[in-house]
């Protein structure tokens, strides 16, 4: 092995991509040739600095895949959303991060997101400020509630619908299919049986409720409620929105449809 061969193979040697025999020959050359040994040291240093470099890049904008399957009721969500909560859904679509005053009080690292977006979103913020957002404790958990202008349901109905949505999400993250089935209508149970992967989740320890709308009652007697949640330790990593259609059967409220938005 001459010096030229050795220089060509140094990078592979450092990466341990050579055969044992090749490595042994190269090492023997380095032991005898000061020039190649110095070159080896320089190359090894720069390679070792390069190796960890990529981990230092933390993108601010993070890709979140949209679920492949989003259950939609016949006729779609569109008209219902338009009829019941147009302004609310517009806010939810950009995430919890655009609710400045209240979000700062949430026990979640929202402030970081807000700081990044605050300057860009002046117009949006004005719209947000027009909505009433307040913190409410539901089942011992503090959640930001977004008032839609047409929510006005009796408080006990509203609370029952909100609690059902939260219990449903908790059961999703507990991976408890039986509990989900017990909270659902026949339609939901059939969908759950057909597509369990769209309902059952892992990683419940990171679950936090960010925002929830007041329940709204559509003309056909269906309650609509939208819940914004995160399930990652890092707030910016994983935010989702679950859209619920809930039916009242006697005194019981049951989930009829659950659809997801990223």
């Amino acid at each position: 092995m001459n010096c030229s061969d050795v220089r060509d193979a140094l990078e592979s040697y450092i990466a341990d991509d050579l055969t044992d025999a090749e490595s042994a020959r190269l090492a023997a050359h380095l032991a005898e040739c000061d020039g190649c040994a110095a070159e080896y040291e320089h190359t090894r240093e720069v390679v070792s600095r390069l190796a960890g470099l990529a981990d230092a890049f933390v993108p601010r904008e993070r890709y979140v895949p949209r679920p492949a399957y989003v259950p939609r009721p016949a006729g779609g969500w569109g008209w219902r959303i338009a009829a019941v909560a147009a302004s609310v859904i517009a806010i939810l679509a950009v995430g919890a991060m655009s609710v400045p005053a209240i979000a700062r009080q949430l026990p979640l690292p929202l402030a970081r997101e807000i700081d990044a977006l605050e300057d860009q979103n002046a117009t949006l913020r004005e719209q947000v400020d027009e909505l009433t957002v307040r913190l409410e404790t539901i089942d011992g958990e503090e959640v930001a509630i977004v008032d839609s202008s047409e929510g006005d349901l009796p408080p006990e109905e509203n609370a029952a619908v909100q609690r059902l949505a939260m219990d449903f999400i908790r059961a999703q993250y507990a991976g408890d299919a039986d509990a989900l089935a017990a909270m659902g209508t026949e339609r939901l149970r059939a969908d759950l049986a057909a597509r369990p992967q769209d309902y059952l989740r892992e990683g419940g320890e990171g679950l936090a409720f960010a925002q929830m709308t007041e329940a709204a009652l559509a003309e056909d007697g269906t309650y609509l409620i939208f819940v914004r949640l995160t399930d990652g330790a890092d707030w910016s990593e994983s935010q989702y929105q679950e859209n619920f259609e809930i039916k009242r059967v006697g005194d019981t409220y049951l989930v009829d449809v659950m659809g997801m938005d990223a």
């Binding site: 990078e11 592979s12 600095r49 890049f57 933390v58 601010r60 492949a68 399957y69």
Partner: protein
């Protein structure tokens, strides 16, 4: 969990598995895109576009164990698209400090990145694929459609050029 297993789960409709894959690869994909485009904004767009494309086309990945090389190829493509597009618009000036990403590494790493940015496009590309994406020479050859021998010598020349660039910027190569 191996990439292979996550790809299989994602194909079965488990969105969270794809998110896990993304989180595993996004930093090095971003670093690669930044090395190639030399623009934080173009890099961010190129990675977002590439991941969206990977998600939609995941079923076309024949060997799930090779997700890393496959998604690298997609990022190279979206970077090239960004570079072509940039030929037609006035580029935004790069800020002195990172804005599109948070730098979570040693300070001298930024100097190293600046030194990489002074290399030729071919050299930046192989440095990124080899050391950021951690690909084998054979995989880089496949991603770039270039013979392995050419890739190997290009890596050697790129390392030499990088050492020279570090010397020029007053950086000690050895530390």
């Amino acid at each position: 969990m191996e990439d292979q297993e996550l790809v299989a789960r994602a194909l079965a409709g488990d969105t969270r598995s794809f998110t896990t894959l993304v989180r595993r690869h996004e930093r090095s994909l971003y670093a690669t895109a930044y090395a190639i485009t030399r623009s934080q904004w173009d890099a961010a767009d190129a990675v977002q576009d590439a991941l969206a494309e990977a998600y939609v086309n995941l079923k076309s990945l024949r060997d799930p164990a090779r997700f890393g090389a496959w998604v690298s190829r997609i990022v190279i493509n979206t970077c090239n698209t960004a570079l072509r597009r940039r030929g037609r618009v006035l580029p935004m000036e790069e800020p002195p400090e990172p804005q599109a990403f948070v730098w979570d590494g040693p300070e001298d790493g930024i100097d190293l990145m600046r030194a990489i940015q002074t290399l030729s496009p071919d050299h930046r590309e192989v440095i990124a694929l080899r050391y950021f994406r951690d690909l084998k020479v054979a995989d880089i050859a496949e991603v770039l459609g270039t013979p392995a021998g050419t890739v190997k010598s290009r890596i050697n020349r790129a390392l030499a050029a990088l050492q020279a660039a570090l010397g020029r910027t007053g950086q000690e190569v050895s530390r």
